[in-house]
Amino acid sequence: MSEAFSVRKYLRDLKLPFCPGCGIFTLMDAFLRSIHELGHEDLKDFVFCSGIGCSSWICSPYFVADSIHTPHGRSIPVATGIKLVHPSLNVVVFGGDGDIVGIGMSHFIHAARRNLDILVIMVNNMIYGMTGGQVAPTTPFKTKTATTPYGSFEEPLDATRLAVTAGACYSARWTTAHPNELKESIKKALRMKGFRFIEVVSQCPTAYGRRAGFKNVGEILKWLKENAVSIGQAEKLSEKELEKRVVVGQFVERKRPTVVENVYAVIKEAQVNDTKS
């Protein structure tokens, strides 16, 4: 590390739009620290894609970098096009739970299946925050939201396990109460190849906190810290005991050929055959 860390060198001179106490600040800090600690003085080797939602604004347009802010749920297809045409760029997707595993769910699964060489960081605040606190696919059962005034009547989705099943090379979950673990996880993921997924369980004091009965940000962070349980510990707990707990840690790490490698192998093969004929 050549110099002390400062977020300034990576950010445009614009006022950030996030609410006070938002978990996004923790993630932004962890991400840019990872970049710094990996030795990147700027973001020129990166392209950022994001959809619609608060967390999609992390990179767009605040990072001094190429950033593509797509329609809701469609960041991964755009990232796919970029990575396939320009394999040497590091493509990172930021998105919320609604963006990545709500409206954009099928792209998420297929990118993991085809092992697209990108890192997806999903901020899970368990709610649609920007639009005023509606129920999300990740909202815990019985939680009251703007559109579930009697409490959510659906079970939430475990996106990190879904990524494992779909074929991700790396899948991990941390919370904003684990900034250091989160940073190390991002660094590890950035050094790997293949489809990599990190879920960041995060507080939304504005839209979620008050509805779920938290008085302030500190209470939410305390809850996250106290209710987080490592994968190892979780294995020893019953389903009943795991209710309302957040399982954190690394769920998978593996190597598979990426679709980028496979596509370029096809091009090579087709050109050899073409010359022959």
Partner: protein, 382 residues
């Protein structure tokens, strides 16, 4: 088979479209299976890797056009192809491509809708959707081929217009032209006029304004380009509430097309000056006019026609001129009436506009049906 040598082939329309794309410099294709466009994907899957390009089948049509847009921002000329049901799904990203000024080509080989309709049968029901399909204020460039040869030449033109105006361009084909096989003389690659997007110079920062069509960087070139589907200023910075920023952006995006109707417009015409009865046609339906016109003339009817190769932006001046010359304009369409209303609007009472509509089973309007209509209208005149 190669496109480098000028030669005559018996190609399917969809194959000609794929080859036209490659000749125009397309090196990225994404699609999702759908009749009657699937042969474009199959042909691209075979041919693109041979020229160093990428063809991929995506999980749906949303992803297909999205990945093409990503490829375009990575510097590639990109295309997707579909039919009505998939075209409906693509509308979200078409608006995005418009507001972000992303050149790309979208082929819609029309079939009989709405919904799944008659999947293997021809129709022309997507004409208005191709103009107004996405939400908000926008302008579309839509081309309409009527032969296998034009599936090649108009695909090349679609890419050129997309690059020149930095906007999505739609090739509005139909099942008949897409699936039909016909002889085509393929021009040699050096005789194909290819236009490429204007690249920024070092230090340029305004990629979304200041000029009618701003230069377009690719990601990874060091320009730190911020692309967004939200309203943005010249530098790509989001302004979600400022009325002036929105007005300035959206007016420029529309004007860069609306102010160039004449350059974008392309058509075939016959006897506009001397006609009493005129035909206004496009796409597969136009294949009936040649025989009908010949037979009508043999009966002494003064007849002329305009065949639109560019449907949108609608060539208002051209059609107004036709309305000034002709007493009646017959508009045959394989839908229940779409472009005829545009003709009526532009004619504004100068000429009577008469629709001739036929839908179902993919049956084309025949020369006999068209001739019968012409004769009936001519008789009424006497």
């Amino acid at each position: 088979m190669t496109t480098t040598k000028s030669n005559t082939y018996f190609w399917q329309g969809n194959q000609a479209c794929a080859e036209g794309a490659i000749a125009a410099g397309c090196r990225f294709f994404a699609g999702y299976p759908i009749t009657p466009a699937s042969e474009i994907a199959a042909h691209m899957a075979k041919r693109l890797p041979q020229v160093g390009g990428i063809a991929i089948q995506m999980e749906d049509e949303l992803a297909s056009v999205g990945v093409a847009i990503g490829a375009s921002w990575a510097g590639a000329k990109a295309m997707t192809a579909t039919s009505g049901p998939g075209f409906s799904l693509m509308q979200e990203f078409i608006g995005y491509a418009f507001i972000t000024e992303t050149p790309c080509v979208i082929v819609d080989a029309q079939r009989a809708g709405p919904s799944t309709g008659q999947a293997t049968k021809c129709g022309q029901g997507d004409v208005m959707q191709s103009r107004w399909g996405t939400h908000g204020d926008y302008s579309a460039i839509v081309l309409s081929p009527n032969s296998v040869e034009e599936m090649f030449t108009l695909t090349v033109r679609a890419f050129n217009l997309a690059e020149e105006y930095r906007t999505p361009v739609i090739l509005l084909a139909d099942e008949t032209i897409a699936h039909m096989r016909e002889q085509i003389t393929v021009p040699s690659s050096d005789s194909v006029n290819v236009i490429n997007r204007r690249k920024p110079r070092a230090g340029d920062k305004a990629f979304f304004g200041l000029e009618e069509v701003p230069p377009m960087p690719a990601v990874g070139e060091g320009f730190n380009v911020a692309v967004t589907g939200s309203t943005h200023d010249e530098y790509g910075i989001r302004f979600t509430a400022d009325p002036l920023v929105h007005k300035k952006l959206v007016e420029r995006l529309n004007n860069k097309i609306r102010n160039h109707v004449e350059e974008i417009s392309d058509f075939e015409d016959y006897n506009i000056e001397g006609c009493q009865i005129a035909l206004l046609v496009y796409g597969c339906t136009s294949r009936a006019i040649y025989e009908a016109v010949e037979k009508a003339e043999a009966k002494g009817i003064k007849i002329g026609y305009i065949r639109l190769k560019t449907i949108w932006p609608f060539p208002e001046k051209l059609v107004r001129k036709l309305a000034e010359k002709a007493e009646k304009i017959i508009v045959p369409e394989m839908n229940l009436g779409q472009i005829c209303y545009e003709v009526e609007r532009v004619a504004n009472g100068l000429a009577e506009v008469i629709p001739l509509n036929k839908i179902g089973g993919g049956e084309l309007i025949t020369p006999e049906e068209l001739l019968a209509k012409i004769l009936r209208e001519a008789e009424k005149n006497e």
